[in-house]
Amino acid sequence: MAAFTRCLLLAAGLLVLSLAAVADQLPPQLTYRALPTRPFDAVRTADEAEKPAVEQRQRAVLEERYDLSDRPIPSVMMSGGRKSVQGGARVKLPQGVTWDSLAQMSPDEIRRSNLFPAGFLPLPHVKQATGGQVFPNNQIDEIAKQENRNLRRFDVDFDLPERFTPEFPPPIFLSSHPELGDVSRGQLLTIKNYYALMVGLITPVQMEGLRLLLTPFPQEEFNQTEDRKSADQSLGVTCLDCHSNFNTNAAFHQTPDVRPQAARFRLDTVSLRGLFNQQIHGSKRSLRSVEDFSEFEQRTAYFNGDQMSAQRKGVNLPERHDQTAMMAQMQNIIDFPPAPKLDPLNRLDPNKATAEELAGERVFMGKGQCAACHVPATAFMDNNMHDLKLDRFYPVGATVNGLVIIPEGPIKTFTLRGIKDTPPYLHDGRLLTLADCVEFFNVVLSLKLTQDEKNDLVAYMLTL
């Protein structure tokens, strides 16, 4: 009888539930990009007028979160030997706590006391409501010089100081020619010079893939329509405008996989080095092949996951059986930078590594739990996505410079090979140095590392 009553109650509840589920249909503007309502000139004038305030607001966010000073690690250079690696934890601590005292607190205590460092929270886009691709000045200047193509936006500038971005242009290492080392000749690969730089080194199929990866196609902010953010009618952008020389220049964007716009988290461009070992692609989408990713980026990186907008502005869909395959084959011969202290299984060679680096590897494999996901034998990845459950540490729903902070859910594990070459860190670039990463995971995973162990971990990661 009780069970029967319970069933009736449930049935009644479900009736209301099903009605509630159709109640209050949300407006379509939460999902779809609105069409522009004003002429281009009016939009540009408004954007240019707002720009100083936009830049100032983001600068205030960065200065509140980070120590942005120039403190390179002595005699540690990125793989091309042109740029120092910045050191020290740069995330600022809330008043009244130290890294050690924070690491002793439980997630609940940190949340209730509002003590999660602001620099550990998602990093907003410079202009969240508009979003889109933003390139660093070095890339903009070099593309203007070589191709006379404009990558500068009139509404926003790149926000991070150059010392926290990868060296430019980065070196290129080919998995098909390890003996050659860097084959970039210190140049940025573009549609102008790619053939001269690569003929004789790569196959015809790879060459055609490279050409496609360097050919500009219309993109949400760079196109011919009134809904663009470049002053001139733009030919568009190329894959390698963000993935400079198949590494990254720290150009950023927003995730194509979340709506509404205010909740779309920032994406820091990922390096394409070692793509041959990567089984899942896209920080949220978990696409299963480089071919899929190369094909679908025309819908996502280029047009925010909005096929309607793509169709209007001029989408380029590479032919699957031919063009996409060639693009993938070029990407799949890009190697990590050499790591001479690692053995074939990616473990440190004790005859080559220092005591500090070896100690760091022990922490990495043990107390630090880094290797649970960053497995050395599989290029410091596990080809999985994980949810760090950061919302244990902060109240959900705050807004920072237009970005609504909600839990980000599962994000893929990124490789740590060549990690010193690819600041800033985490999928959105919220951590500026490797020391920041150590402090972040020390808190998030409640590791309680000593200062020596933290230093050792950084020394170890510099060998990767």
Partner: protein, 220 residues
């Protein structure tokens, strides 16, 4: 106890307002209605709403009104103590927030909707027929859906609105709505075994949480 918490929450919400004025970005002017009066180039004059502001105000005013009506009904009908307390909190906080939004909408000359929309009237009719545990279940599950929808609408306003006062209202309200959603989910976990992201002990309605202070972002 609930009353005290609710009042504290609203007081903190009001106090946090000036700091949060900085938290809304400027929107994409491409979506600004042509001919919008500007106080400076690129800056729409005060109380110049766009379509997003109007849609947001309408939906949230109706939704908030429904929260208060359903909350009062739950105050009479609810079976469980936690549901009753939650309903009381909904009545208090949504009355206050609704009044504030109404004033902002009037200042911006946004049309004020009358009564409930068709969907909320349907839910009201169904709730009217229920009693006891069945009422509690239907009310809480409906509250979860309504707060999910409201959270999305607030995020929509933060990203797409134009009237700074309405956008700042959304910034202040969002953490509170997220907190309401968490509490409703907790009740559904405790009474119905619904899976929840956070352990019930971490977010029991009786415990003070930072989100109820208006969600001032930590150290920002």
């Amino acid at each position: 106890m609930t009353r005290i918490l609710a009042v504290c929450g609203l007081a903190a919400l009001a106090a946090a307002a000036p700091a949060l004025a900085q938290q809304t970005g400027v929107g994409n002017p491409a979506a600004t209605p042509a001919g919008t009066p500007e106080r400076a180039p690129g800056m729409p004059a005060a109380h110049e709403p766009n379509d997003a502001d109007r849609i947001f105000a309408r939906e949230v005013l109706i939704g908030g009104r429904a929260e208060v009506m359903f909350g009062k009904l739950a105050g009479e009908r609810a079976h469980g103590t936690a549901v009753k307390q939650f309903a009381e909190r909904m009545v208090q906080e949504h009355t206050r927030a609704g009044d504030e939004l109404m004033n902002l909408a009037k200042a911006a000359d946004v049309p004020i909707p009358e009564g409930l929309d068709r969907d909320h009237r349907t839910i009201q009719g169904e709730l009217d027929k229920l009693n006891g545990a069945a009422f509690d279940d239907a009310y809480i599950r409906g509250q979860i859906t309504d707060h999910q929808q409201t959270a999305q609408l607030l995020e929509f306003e933060i990203g797409s609105g134009q009237d700074p006062a309405l956008m700042q209202f959304a910034v202040r309200a969002l953490p509170v709505v997220m907190r309401h959603l968490q509490i409703a989910q907790t009740i559904a976990t405790e009474t119905e075994g619904v899976a929840s992201r956070i352990m019930p002990s971490e977010k029991h309605p009786g415990k003070q949480e930072p989100a109820s202070n208006g969600g001032a972002p930590p150290a920002q």
